[in-house]
Amino acid sequence: MPIRMTDVSRSFGDVLAVDRVTMTVPQGALLGLIGPSGSGKTTLIRMLTGTLLPTSGEIRVLGRAPHEFPRTTREVIGYVPQDFVLYPDLTASENVGFVASLFGMFWWRRRRRVREVLQLLGLWDVRHRRAKELSGGMRRRLEVACGLVHEPVLLFLDEPTAGVDPLLSRDMWEEFRRLRSTRTLLVTTQSVEEAELCDHVAVLHRGRVVALDTPDALRHSIWGGEVIEVTTERPVEAEAFRGVAGITQLRQTGPRRVLLVAEDAGAAAPRIVEAARAQNSGVASIDPYRPSFSDVLAAIVERADREEPTDEAAA
């Protein structure tokens, strides 16, 4: 496991930024860390990259405690910080070349890799342009290029698509997904759509990881089964399906539409048709329903708040 965190906490004075986080990231995974601003994402990344010590708990990254990384380990870690930290007066290729040199790449390999990453991120044509003359999206891509240039096996990206237009953001995520074939990526984001593109999603809320799984599994876990949308031929009350074996939740979404959560949708379908008939209606269709991931995340956060309310909420 490239990343293993056990009961890790980090405080800044009285503020608990990260609270008892335990998680592992498997080799070749693309883990999305999602949460609102101030939820502890950057603090977590800084602890994993060795720039911040945890207050308690144990972190192992590539088998070592991050603050004790030897040079050989640092050489295979990539980091794209949240803020623009490149040199505005250097050109795009000079910036990438500088970072490649910091990671000890010799010029022949550096030359080839600078070209490769600039082409990969669509910056080759502006390679001679100074960083300060690039657009916001180009700068962000330039930073990602700097993070990738030394071919790290483990890459930390702190909100890499913040301020990037949606089309470009989609391209960058395609690239992240392609990269996971050879490396492990941990990406923080505030975008629900982006989180859904990850192999695994960790939901951070008030410094705690309140859910960690694949996007589909998270969906399943929050609804407790498969969600199906039933469309009847005549208006039927959702309550008509209460008591149908295998149905755990129901919600009316229209006069002829009902959302049902079934433990096994296939097995429940005949019983749903039967219940509709009992209400003098036929069933026009039964379709699997894919709730939006933002609904899923909202539900996860609500559940976390119910299980452990904030001080204000408790008051």
Partner: protein, 398 residues
């Protein structure tokens, strides 16, 4: 009217914003106000306004018949000269003058009595090794005063030994002119400095030293502050780069830049302003590198205590102000009291001014031998301090 009111609203908003920003950076205000006050206070407390007595060696030729006891000459120099040695070794005394151990050398005539008795003036040779036109003028005036006093004492001595009524002090039949009786000694002065620069030529190397120190300090301080405030330090902390590698890279880059600037300035000073350069170029390059090394360290020190570019610039300006007052650029360091005089030697530019003037105008060898090692030591201490601090910064934050 509404437009004017809106304009006033905007202006007052800007005023409030600026004042709030300033109030929230007390460090900047303190360095802005207290710094210059401190420099002026140090100047007031440390500057005596009195010239220190000039260290003088008196050479008495062995067969001159003149006394060797220091007490005979101590009063002659008055407050202006301090006779530190009386010797017959003329060559040794010349070497002391060359090395700067004494600033004035008085060589008494070996045939004073014989010449006097022949009715002739004997020659009193007073030498100094001073490039500074101001100091050379002071030495000249002091030499005249010294000769007058010596003549007076000789007359007094003659009067007491021969009797005031007697006028025949020479060989029989020799008439002693009134001029010889009034001044048995004729002053001859000599400035042994390799160059007699004009005021502009003399101060040009000092300005060069000041410029190089200020350049090195400002460039390094700003560069390091930018690394810190831009977040690049986070990248360094994650990457395999070591604090010493970072420092060496910066030192070499700015060292090279300063060397190029210094070479260009020296060429400009010589070509456009006619400032002479009589020294050895390699030795001069070594002094530039030493001054740059120490100044870069001072810049790093500033970057470690400043929290913003603005504060770094303020501190760099304060160092420049202190350098102007205390480095010997305008006022001789000798005219400061302790401990301000010693504090002056904590600044790289103090050595830079002396070494540059010596190397460019005199050809070297005219400053104390410990100046270059001292500059190297200051640079090394500052480098170690900066490396230690940077290593701590790059370690994981607890």
């Amino acid at each position: 009217m509404i437009s004017l009111a809106k304009s006033l609203t905007r202006i007052t908003a800007i005023i409030r914003k600026e004042l709030r920003e300033l109030a929230r950076r007390p460090g900047a205000i303190v360095s802005l106000m207290v710094g210059p006050l401190l420099v002026v206070a140090l100047f007031g407390a440390g500057f005596s306004g009195q010239r220190r007595a000039i260290d003088t060696i008196v050479v008495v030729p062995a067969d001159s018949g003149l006394p060797f006891e220091m007490g005979n000459y101590r009063d002659v120099g008055g407050e202006a000269l301090r006779v530190k040695d009386v010797t017959a070794d003329a060559a040794g005394a010349q070497e002391s003058l060359r090395r700067g151990e004494a600033r004035v050398l008085v060589t008494l005539p070996k045939d004073l009595r014989a010449r006097f008795e022949r009715g002739e003036q004997a020659t009193l040779l007073i030498e100094w090794n001073e490039m500074d036109p101001v100091q050379a003028g002071i030495a000249q005036a002091t030499a005249v005063a010294f000769t007058q006093e010596l003549n007076r004492q000789l007359l007094r001595s003659a009067a007491s030994s021969l009797g005031i009524e007697s006028v025949s002090v020479g060989s029989p039949g020799v008439r002693i002119p009134a001029e010889v009786i009034a001044s048995p000694l004729r002053l001859e002065t000599r400035n042994n400095a390799a160059a007699r620069p004009s005021f502009m030529s003399f101060f040009a190397p000092a300005v060069l030293a000041l410029v190089l120190q200020h350049l090195a300090i400002t460039l390094t301080a700003l560069s390091m502050i930018r690394e810190r405030t831009s977040g690049a330090m986070d990248l360094f902390r994650v990457s395999p780069v070591h604090a010493v590698e970072l420092l060496v890279g910066k030192y070499l880059a700015y060292g090279l830049l300063t060397l190029v600037i210094a070479a260009s300035l020296v060429a400009l000073l010589g070509g456009a302003l006619g400032v002479p350069f009589v020294g050895e170029r390699l030795g001069f390059a070594r002094i530039i590198l030493l001054l740059t090394f120490a100044s870069l360290g001072l810049g790093l020190l500033i970057s470690l205590v400043a929290d913003s570019e603005r504060q770094a610039v303020q501190l760099a300006m304060l160092v420049l102000l202190a350098a102007m007052f205390f480095s010997g650029f305008v006022l001789p360091i000798d005219e400061f009291r302790e401990p301000v005089r010693s504090l002056a030697f904590a600044m790289p530019v103090t050595y830079g001014v002396a070494l540059f003037q010596d190397a460019m105008l005199r050809g070297g060898g005219g400053t104390p031998q410990w100046y270059e090692p001292a500059l190297l030591a200051i640079g090394a201490v500052l480098f170690l301090l900066a490396a230690g601090r940077l290593r701590a910064t790059m370690r994981a934050t607890a």
